[in-house]
Subunit: 421 residues, 2 copies
């Protein structure tokens, strides 16, 4: 079965609001294997909505409409359906009575205009709305089913549960053709590198089942499986294991809710290790990310944002001569910062970052985006260092840098864990 979603309301065509109802509707379709082919937003325009509706019932089998069921002249959905499918409309007096009682229960008289909400399209089934006054409707047009739902999210939410999901269940004979997804998250690798590494999975499982989404410093590989619940789970398990293997140690989680900082936090907790940070161009972003995680006080002791050279010396013990000799953005200074924050503040790991986030401060030798990341590990002599040049603006450079720093810590923890096994 294929579906389209149509959200009705001129306010959804402005600059500040998005149709979020469609996300909830989509979530209810997926388990039943219904394929969403398009979604659209239409203003309070009867003719435009009628055209869209007429076209939709020719193209797909399920049309889900939200909004435009209110009592005012702006609410055009009932009239548009009537026009699109050439159906009459009758006021259902029982519904009017029901609404009147609803208003009375709040100590109010029903405004006359609300009678419009009791207009039922010929041949439609009325769908009760236990959280509002506007009932929904369902009608069959040719081979298609059309659902009309209110646009208020909490009313819609309840009506999906009460009216849409049971109907989908009935149609599908149990939801055995459903779709399920799983993610594999990878930090600090370029999208093209990920693509290359996972290429064999495209052949093995089919390209259409794997999609790659990149954001600064992170690539998410989304996997999709269809079939019965058991089949889906088994396939996703197999696919995600394959992707993790192909990624070669770069995948940090297969849990949709996990973040790089939560994974690093869990590894630190498990290993009984602690961490401190010394940041320059990221300005506290790594510390901020580490402490987003509830309970991070177990492993995060503290951090320093040393924007000036003087503070690099005073807070981290980086010698002024070293800064003088190599410049603040340099490998020796990054290493000294990492070792300094680790030993001064008594943690197992010390993360240090110095770089040019831009837009100013770049030079020919050290252009904007040049970053040194150093991680001092539990062993005294253990300092990992990376010099990188990140593309993008200040925000992207900072984001990518924080990813790299956390990923270096993660890899060290994983490596040590393997050694200890």
């Amino acid at each position: 079965m294929r579906a389209v979603i149509i959200a009705v309301g001129s306010e959804l065509l402005g600059t500040r609001r998005l149709d979020t109802n469609s996300l909830r509707l989509t979530a209810s379709l997926e388990p039943y294997g219904v394929e969403l082919t398009a979604k659209s937003v239409i203003g309070d325009d009867e003719a435009e909505l009628a055209r869209t509706l007429a076209r939709s019932v020719d193209e797909v089998e399920l049309v889900l409409v939200t909004g435009g069921l209110g009592p005012t002249a702006d609410d055009v959905t009932r009239a548009a359906v009537s026009r699109a499918f050439d159906r009459g409309v009758q006021v259902d007096e029982e519904l009017v009575e029901h609404m009147r009682r609803l208003f009375a229960s709040f100590g109010r008289d029903m405004p006359g205009v609300n009678r419009r909400q009791a207009e039922v399209i010929d041949g439609a089934v009325v769908l009760s709305n236990s959280r509002g006054t506007a009932p929904g409707q369902r009608l069959a047009v040719g081979g298609a089913s059309v659902f009309l739902f209110p646009g208020v999210p909490r009313e819609l939410e309840k009506m999906i549960e009460t009216h849409l999901e049971p109907w989908l269940q009935e149609q599908s004979g149990g939801g055995d053709r459903g779709l399920e997804r799983q993610v594999v998250k990878i930090a600090s690798l370029p999208e093209s590198t990920v693509e290359e590494r996972i290429a064999p999975a495209y052949e093995r499982f089919g390209r259409e089942r794997i999609s790659v989404l990149a954001s600064p410093g992170e690539v998410k590989v989304w996997l999709a499986a269809r079939g019965s619940e058991a089949e889906r789970r088994a396939e996703l398990e197999e696919m995600s294991r394959a992707i993790v293997e192909l990624a070669g140690g770069a995948a940090y989680t297969t849990d949709q809710n996990a973040t790089l900082e939560s994974v690093v936090g869990a590894l630190l907790s498990e290993a009984g290790r602690t961490v401190t940070t010394a940041e320059s161009c990221t300005g506290g972003l790594v510390a901020e990310r580490l402490t987003r995680v509830p309970g991070s006080s177990v492993y995060f002791l503290g951090g320093v944002v040393s924007y000036t050279n003087e503070l690099k010396t005073r807070l981290l013990g980086v010698s002024a001569e070293l800064i003088q000799a190599h410049g603040a953005v340099s490998e020796p200074v990054a290493r000294a910062m990492a070792a300094g924050v680790r030993s001064r503040y008594g943690s197992d790991y010390g993360i240090a970052i110095t770089g040019v986030a831009g837009p100013g401060g770049g030079s020919e030798e050290k252009p904007v985006g040049t970053v040194h990341v150093a991680v001092a590990g539990p062993g005294e002599q253990d300092v990992e260092h990376r010099k990188v040049r990140f593309p993008g603006d200040r925000e992207r450079v900072r984001q990518q840098t924080s990813q790299l720093a956390l990923e270096l810590v993660r890899r060290d923890l994983v490596r040590r864990d393997l050694v200890a096994d």
Copy 2:
């Protein structure tokens, strides 16, 4: 002129992502009086997209397409346009060379697959993309203009400025029928307080022209005006002045692009003052926000994230006895942290935060959300302190706390500026 927006990408039909690009596009249409009649999302489906495109050029005069311009087989926009309007496609070797240089500047070879991004539709104008590899295209089809833009928001953003807005300007002969909006931003006041204060403006200007949007620690009042450019400007000027006055010193900017941290930064710069931070429960968020602003090294010296009591003592000179007597989350400790970071690191302002962000760590006396913010000002005895209990989860508590801290600094700078006048 009427327009539709079409976002292309199967990922936008899932349950996790919305097309937010359309908001930015809509904002660029409004000042020119272009009416958006619909927007839709189409998957990576060449036939479906071709159908939608063919229909759109019959119905409106401006078709804006985002996404589907990448290098992979999933990226169907060029092919769909070619099919919809029966146009050929040629690889532009100059574009290929340009992309090759772009890759080279990051020390990478251009993957062969990227050649597809240089495919130009017959009769189309190439629109340069200074932030990515996929160029856009503009073509005339009958009486309609079709723009193809990449789906990456920051690439699109720049291309709207460079290619769409100048074109709209040209078409409209100055945008005299448009709608224009302006914002007034207010930090650290509850929405209901803002509503009360600005109530007289509803009567004076009309309720439908003023809308209030609240997020943690911030309220935005949006104002709308129609008419010629001169009329719009004059009205928005009058309205925003009225709102700022009614807000009673709480409005920190009327510039849509300004943030609280950029406003505080500009005030610090102007006053020739510097700042340092000492954070506990916000974990570096205030430092991170201050350093988001390009050029912040002029006034931000550095900061400390003192998650443990020991670091509060070592890095900030807060006496262990004080912590023992009052607890780390207390007014005396917040004040000592602020004075300590200010005097130790030689700044004019010292910001200190200590609190319980949750979800753990709360007690009956100090429930989750309890926060102490202290700001030490330029005068030796000058420490402002606020104790608050913020609602919401960890992230919201941290966000609201960082707003309050920055707002306290802003108000002190404004007050001093007035005194100095």
